[in-house]
Symmetry: C2
Subunit: 433 residues, 2 copies
């Protein structure tokens, strides 16, 4: 059975201003439109447009794959300071589609820029032209299939018609569902915080749930704020927060050609001027952005394909960050650990195996391992207090916390993943049918 | 359904002197004994002794895991030129069992050396003492459980009683089955070849079938020959042949704490003196050893947990060996590729993804990909001749061959793996129950 994500995460924002995404409402300077271009055989939304009518500062991080999708190539060529729109389609990744795939995006950008310019003329007092190179694209779905340029182009008038200048939580949920592929649940998160004396919002949506293994950015994540922050500061904020959030999750160890996390700042809230990313006025925003990214990342892991359990793997007291990260992911990516957890088996021997293969220098008799509050290994030995039936009982939980303590230093890293179930095989052996 | 391994591999020895293991018979200077110490709850053999009554030259390669099992620690301490016995137990890996686990091996070695010395006295004209440090151990099974020293020790008299001085194929099959864990099939291979004008034999047995990912050596493999070859030459022969055989397979990307491949030369055939590993008289032996190791390695991959298909992934025309290896294993270890193959889906987009994430510099429009003889990608584009239903038909085969051609250089690497099925999950979620 799929995990009840809300039960899992209602608590994670305890220290921040806002909790669940039930409170999502409106962000000034942003408009959303959702429709179906019939890209799937079944009826569902598959096109989502974010329209920034006054332009927005923006920053993105992309996949580190050596084979990147055409939309990422497109986005990397955009050098306008402000962008006006983000169009996301699901079902087709526009990856390994060659020049045709790239041309398709040009056709869509041209069409969208015309239609949006038209809309400016009818809606705004001082209409501004929307240029093709002020549009970003997010694509997700099957790699290598011909990009459905015509189908999407035909839906653009409908998309324009459906643009909503104000949002409520239902529209956010609709948008977040319009970008999903095999995900079962929408992924949204929000925070509110102060920059100086101005309250600003940070909203985010994301999708998983296959090919999830971090390499700079993982999967699709889009963050929106009404704060006034320059693109270069946004870029630094995003980079410094991605490492322990989106880059800390793994569903199956596979890295997509299409990974993309972006942040957009509409600047509708006139907060005080920010000199640099180190400006103390940004401290709270930085933390809140981290929370939004982490919340989304955890939701992606929890909704990983076939997941029945959400697993967090904290590796602490390591010599280096990289050591902690290597061991944490060695455990998170081990099919043997993940199947044991699916079987609710406290098979700690497989944790030992995964620590051993991580290629990190360790001192075996310093290692401690805990499942939740249960000490399994202490100083490299099975703990005297360890009781297998107690541990087996703990493994029945929906949220499993593994702690590995190397007792060698002060660095730590936590990764997030899910168990490996028959459902994963089922989803992935007939994904395209 | 499990793969019919014999159908798959009857052909691989085409160019060598012997084919199937149906022809295994006797190797002089070697004795085998197989029994059950009741280590499993069900009745099966779980203890296998190889006894070399005149001592043998030997060489081994071991796991590169940073957490190695107690038997590997024991073996690494052995510095006798000749050894007299190899005792293998299944069910318990004797890993992360600490000093107690190591002490258990000392107790077994002491007991075995006494009993074997006794047997020498009753059987041989010139009895020689068997020392504790002339015994090697192979252990496989669950990590972290208390090593069943007493149970095994109690079985030693029975093991001694059952020692057979001559072998036939049934005894070899029995021995190879006595070292299995979740494997479904015995894994044996053989070759015969000449060193100078002397015909020598090379026999091998191995086990899989979980925690299989190469790192120096993978899983258990034992090779026996009646040739006269020094330990130092054996070591070099083993090292140079392991890279493209045992180190070319992956079942699940997990590396065991217990991996071990050893070769033993009884020296009963008095072939001509060999000066070094480069001696031309060794050319044929070297090739035959490679065949035995490759044959066993392929059998391990084909019998990987839950396997319904055997997959070989050849990556050619790369700039470096390491590039070819990285891409080949990136594909072999991708759960998305492996589930697609389980579903008989020619989802080549996932191959593209796996190439992209391997962190190798490539030129996308030079890549070609084939499934068997079917060209899928040519010069970075979907081939004009590609026909999805033809490819889908090919995916129904039991033996799937993927070919990736980077067209950038001359180096190549082939890895071997199997598909990822629901059966894998089933086996591994309740392995210990």
């Amino acid at each position: 059975m799929p995990i009840n994500i809300n039960n899992l995460f209602n608590s994670i924002n305890k220290n921040s201003k806002m909790g669940d995404f039930q409170d999502l409402d409106h962000i000034d300077g942003l408009s959303i439109s959702v429709t179906s271009a019939n890209l799937y055989s079944k009826q569902r939304d598959d096109l989502v447009l974010f329209y920034f009518r006054n332009g927005v500062n923006h920053a993105s991080v992309y996949t580190q794959s050596k084979l990147i999708s055409e939309n990422i190539k497109w986005n990397l060529k955009i050098n306008k300071k402000k962008i006006k729109a983000l169009l996301i389609n699901t079902r087709n990744a526009n990856a390994f589609t060659g020049k045709e795939g790239f041309k398709g995006l040009k056709i869509l950008a041209d069409s969208l820029s015309q239609e949006l310019t038209q809309k400016q003329k009818s809606d705004e007092e001082k209409p501004i032209k929307v240029e093709s190179d002020e549009i970003l694209f997010g694509c997700t779905g099957t790699i290598g299939e011909i990009f459905p340029t015509e189908k999407i182009k035909k839906s653009i008038p409908d998309l324009i018609k459906k643009i909503k200048y104000t949002q409520n939580k239902y529209l956010w949920i609709k948008a977040s569902m319009g970008i999903l592929t095999t995900d079962l649940k929408p992924k949204l998160a929000m925070e509110e915080c102060y920059i100086g004396n101005k309250l600003v919002k940070i909203y985010g949506i994301a999708k998983g749930s296959g090919m999830i293994y971090p390499n700079m950015a993982t999967t699709l994540g889009y963050i929106f704020t009404d704060a006034t922050i320059s693109s270069s500061i946004l870029k630094q904020l995003l980079k410094q927060n991605i490492h322990k959030t989106f880059n800390a999750i793994s569903c199956d160890g596979d890295t997509s050609t299409n990974d993309m996390v972006s942040i957009f700042a509409t600047g509708e809230v006139e907060n005080s001027n920010l000199k640099s990313v180190k400006d103390k006025k940004l401290t709270e925003f930085n933390l809140s952005l981290h929370n939004v990214l982490l919340n989304l990342a955890k939701r992606i892991a929890a909704d990983g394909e076939g997941a029945s359990k959400f697993i967090s793997i904290k590796v602490k007291n390591c010599r280096t960050d990289e050591d902690a990260r290597k061991i944490s992911f060695s455990i998170a990516n081990s099919p043997l650990v993940k199947t044991a957890i699916a079987g609710e088996d406290p098979n700690w021997g497989r944790i030992i195996m995964a620590i051993g293969k991580a290629n990190v220098n360790i001192i075996p008799n310093k290692i401690s391992i805990k499942f939740g509050n249960i000490t399994v290994i202490e100083n490299g030995k099975l703990s005297n207090s360890y009781n297998e039936s107690e541990a087996a009982n703990y493994m029945k939980e929906e949220k499993i916390e593994l702690l590995v303590n190397l007792n060698l230093g002060k660095k730590e890293f936590t990764s997030y993943t899910m168990d490996l179930t028959k459902k994963y095989i089922e989803i992935n052996s007939d994904y395209r049918t």
